[in-house]
Amino acid sequence: MNFNTKIRFDFIKHSNKFFIFSGILTLLGIISLLVFQLNYGVDFKAGTNMDITVGKTTTQAESIELLKQAGYDKVKLTVGGNNNERVSVRFDEVLPQDKVNVVKKAFTDKFGAKASFEVNVVSPDMAQELGKKAIIAIVVASAAIMLYVIIRFEWRFSLAAIIAILYDAFFVVTMFSLFHFEVNLPFIAAVLTTIGYSINDKIVIFDRIRENLRFGKYKTKEQLSEMVNASLWQTMARNIYTVAAVLIVAVSLFLFGSESIKLFALAKIFGLASGAYSSICIASPLWLILKSKEKKKVAAKPKTNP
């Protein structure tokens, strides 16, 4: 069968390079997790988080001074947002309401009524529970998706997809660990939806592979590789367009959206990029490896079927 597509790049031929590249990234992630760990937000580490919009440009020094006055000299603090109007403070302890009010007062005294606050207080047992639930969520979601793919396709597609998806999820975690971005509940939502999008990408390609498989007979590994490559290029336009479309949204959320969803948008950007890459460079070659192993067995059998 002749696939009338212009193959510009042989992904399958270079699949080992992709495997090595991703292997190195994964290793880097493991090392980073061991060395830098994750910068857990209050959602997972108990404590108090305060986001303060002060209504005018401020500096880190100014806020540090204010917090010192309020009796806190060892807190994590960042100033960001448009025109540096937003101060994020993280206390490692669970602040009771009256203490929160002391801090609030320090800021309203300085910046006037324009100062607006978001305060999150999470107790230790709640934080632990959220952490546990997040892991359960990822495991259950992966398992459920795997099952669905086994039912709709076959186990080889499912296995290849799940490895690639977990790689994507891990990639997002790696990036957050490397750059020390805060890991909070929306981050988990971002990772989980990354799983969702990522499987989406893989399914579109796998669907095409399955279809091509139905229309032709592939005896040798070379023929199979050619078919996978062709399938990749047949779906390439869609892959690029879709990822571009969703990336446009995620990037505009990151650039123009409110401060509280910036990290969520960033996690999505990492996830989407990785998902697009892994669908083509990891999931499909993995499936090919699994499939060609099966082919060898069939070929080794004596001629029982005509």
């Binding site: 100062a115 207080v121 989406n200 879709t242 959206g257």
Partner: protein, 410 residues
């Protein structure tokens, strides 16, 4: 040229866009906003029994939630959202509260009314009394006292009979307010709390009792409070970001897919409107992560269009006529789109199951957006393109983003 089909196409599009334009402003205004978008606070309480050894039952948990709701109502807070979670938790969400500290104090305060025997055993609880049954009255000497009505008159009679000659102390939380001695069994189901109250003190006590006793002790486990200004700012910025992203995508679709791109733009607009409508119908609360999911959903909706159009383009290239390209293309892409959507729904359901609060809102929005997307971006999109193709107005493959030279001979 088939004018009937074209007219049908135009009629659908014009009516739809008119409905969208006409109803959107009021729909958007009526959408309930979460407290991260309009300011307010959320507290997750963990409930424990007032006395050791007892258990938190589903009934007592529900009752506590109801009492909290009654308190919020009394404070004049609009639409308090109070829900029980798991076996021992209550989540309280109050939006648009100006005097947060005061409200928080009143909401969480146990105000547990108990009548105790001299040995400290609790004979009657706040829950034994009629709700809103406390009144301020005066004794013969004109001193104010508070009367409470019992749900079960017989119970009070029994309790007082067993304590004749002894005292029956009245406690508000752990403070004794009065320690009257029982002279005879009291029938009729009315108890009196007397002491040397001033009228103000008596009124305060009456209000506290009427506020409803909480059958359980509550401890704050998680709190989130958002200033009204900050919320408004978040809403404004995020909606703006969404609009910018969507506008870029629509332009991108039209450039890329020409005629079907225009159809896609129409279906994406309809999709957005329909999703807002679903939100409104369900009286769902829109939160910040919800908006993010909404906006990302637009990206996904576009995906369904892209998969279908790419497939149609392929079919055109293979030399089929426009109509059969459309048929083959939409048929072949349907399975792919469904598989992709189902896996996404699976991930969202898990998210809903595990998550809480805002995350649940996010997951729910994802699920709805996928369902609405299937309706608009598969079925509506298909119908509109079919009408256009059948109108015979757009016959050139270039209208569909396919060059003549790419078309193979059959």
């Amino acid at each position: 040229m088939n004018w009937k089909r074209l007219a049908a196409f135009l009629a659908i599009v014009i009516i739809m866009l008119a409905v969208v334009a006409g109803t959107s402003p009021s729909l958007v205004k009526d959408i309930r906003l979460g407290l991260d978008l309009k300011g307010g606070f959320e507290i997750l309480y963990e409930a424990t029994p007032l006395e050791g050894g007892e258990k938190v039952t589903p009934e007592s948990l529900k009752e506590t939630a109801r009492s909290l709701e009654a308190r919020a109502d009394k404070l004049g807070i609009a639409e308090p959202e109070i829900t029980t979670e798991g076996t021992n938790r209550i989540r309280v969400k109050l939006a648009g509260v100006a005097n947060e500290d005061e409200v928080r104090k009143v909401i969480g305060e146990p105000v547990n009314l108990t009548f105790r025997a001299p040995d400290g055993t609790i004979k009657l609880k706040g829950t034994d009394f009629v709700e809103n049954g406390a009144k301020v009255e005066y004794d013969q000497l004109g001193h104010p006292l508070v009367t409470i009505k019992l749900k079960n008159a017989q119970l009070f009679e029994d309790v007082t009979r067993s304590l004749i000659g002894k005292t029956l102390a009245i406690y508000l939380d752990d403070t004794m307010i009065s320690n009257p001695s029982v002279n005879s069994a009291i029938s009729g189901g009315t108890a009196q709390i007397s002491g040397s109250f001033t009228l103000d003190e008596a009124n305060d006590l009456k209000d506290k009792i009427n506020m409803g006793a909480l059958p359980l002790k509550l401890t704050e486990k998680y709190t989130q409070s958002v200033g009204a200004q900050l919320g408004k700012q978040s809403l404004h910025q995020t909606v703006e970001a969404g609009l910018i992203g969507t506008a870029i995508i629509l332009v991108f679709l039209i450039i890329l897919f020409r005629v079907p791109g225009v159809v896609a733009a129409i279906t994406v607009i309809t999709y957005t409107w329909l999703l807002i409508l679903v939100f409104w119908l369900m009286n769902a609360t829109l939160t910040l992560p919800g908006i993010a999911a909404f906006v990302l959903g637009i990206g996904m909706a576009v995906d369904a269009n892209i998969i279908m159009y790419e497939r149609i383009k392929e079919e055109i290239r293979s030399g089929k006529s426009l109509l059969s390209s459309l048929k083959a293309g939409s048929k072949n892409s349907f399975r792919t789109i469904m598989d992709a959507n189902v896996t996404n729904i699976i991930a969202s359901i898990v998210l809903y199951w595990v998550g809480n609060g805002a995350i649940r809102g996010f997951a729910l929005t994802m699920i709805f957006s996928i369902l609405v997307s299937i309706v608009t971006n598969i079925f509506l999109s298909r119908l509109l393109i079919q009408l256009l193709i059948r109108s015979n107005l757009f016959k050139k493959p270039s209208y569909y983003g396919v060059k003549e030279s790419e078309i193979r001979e059959l």
